[in-house]
């Protein structure tokens, strides 16, 4: 049983998100996923540069559940991964707003870096 903290806070109040948390929320933007599917999604999206171990993943999920950014969607087996019942997670409305706000924040930073020609140009 988890308790939700910080109800009523604007999405911007949760920023900046730790990279692992952002990746987890980004993976859950695809829909309901279990732990291993989140881990695989993060590894695939980051081209293997971000690898979440079980401790990091479930530690982050515990915090996300407590803050109300993610919710549990019950247990069921994944037909692709055997009979074991797995807990599924999905984004809440707040979680979706927060991941959007973080994406906008990062986008603004990337655009600022591009304007300063730090990225997007070939070095001389």
């Amino acid at each position: 049983m988890t308790t939700k903290r910080g109800a009523g806070r604007p999405p911007e109040a949760y920023l900046p998100l730790p990279p692992a948390t952002f990746h987890i929320l980004l993976a859950l933007a695809d829909g309901e996923l279990h732990g291993y599917a989140i881990m695989k999604g993060v590894a695939a999206r980051s081209a293997g540069t971000v690898r979440l171990g079980p401790g990091t993943l479930y530690g982050a999920l515990k915090r996300l559940l407590e803050t109300g950014l993610v919710e549990e969607r019950g247990e069921r087996a994944d037909p692709e991964r055997g009979d074991e019942r797995r807990r599924y997670y999905r984004l809440t409305h707040l979680g979706l707003s927060v991941v959007r706000a973080e994406a906008r924040r990062l986008d603004a930073m990337v655009r600022a870096a591009r304007r300063k020609k730090l990225i997007g140009v070939r070095p001389a």
Partner: protein, 197 residues
Amino acid sequence: MTAERIYRLLLRAYPPDFRAEYGRDMELLFRDQCQESDVRTLGFWARVFWDVARSAPALRLEAWRKRGSENTQTVEAIMKIAGMLTVLLAAFVIVGAAGEWVAGSKGAMDGRYVLAVVLGVFASVLLLGAGVAILLGARWGRQPARLALFASLVSAVAARLLFPWMSIFSQLVGFGLPVALLIALYWPNKTSTFKAA
């Protein structure tokens, strides 16, 4: 020893509550990882150990902080009860001192006796003020309560030295209560939220 057994041992690094909630899921996820990786490589185990070393201490610290926060609420509740008791006992001693004054006023009154009773009443009023300050701690902070308790203790000692008019009960309240409250106000400084000062 199989990889899963080793991982089950490593799970002991996590807080018991976290293990109870997510231990099974973590084992399952580790089993999935084992199926898709070569568990005999050093790199695999380095990643596993790094994950535990990175996440377990942080979760332990969180659990420890949470317990600290629960203790803080308990201390705060105890201090509220102590504040109410202080107000009641101080009011009781003031009434007692008034009775003492009425009884003493029937005969000829010694100047030292008068001063001792006045100091006793003053000490009780300060004690009452300290009780109110403890009750309103979040708004006023600890410092007014501490100052009132110090002044009350000094007044009570002075009253007792001037003239031995106080009953055992009044002396217990006059000396014992301020000392106990001062210890309580200084001792749990770091765990109580009664710290707006």
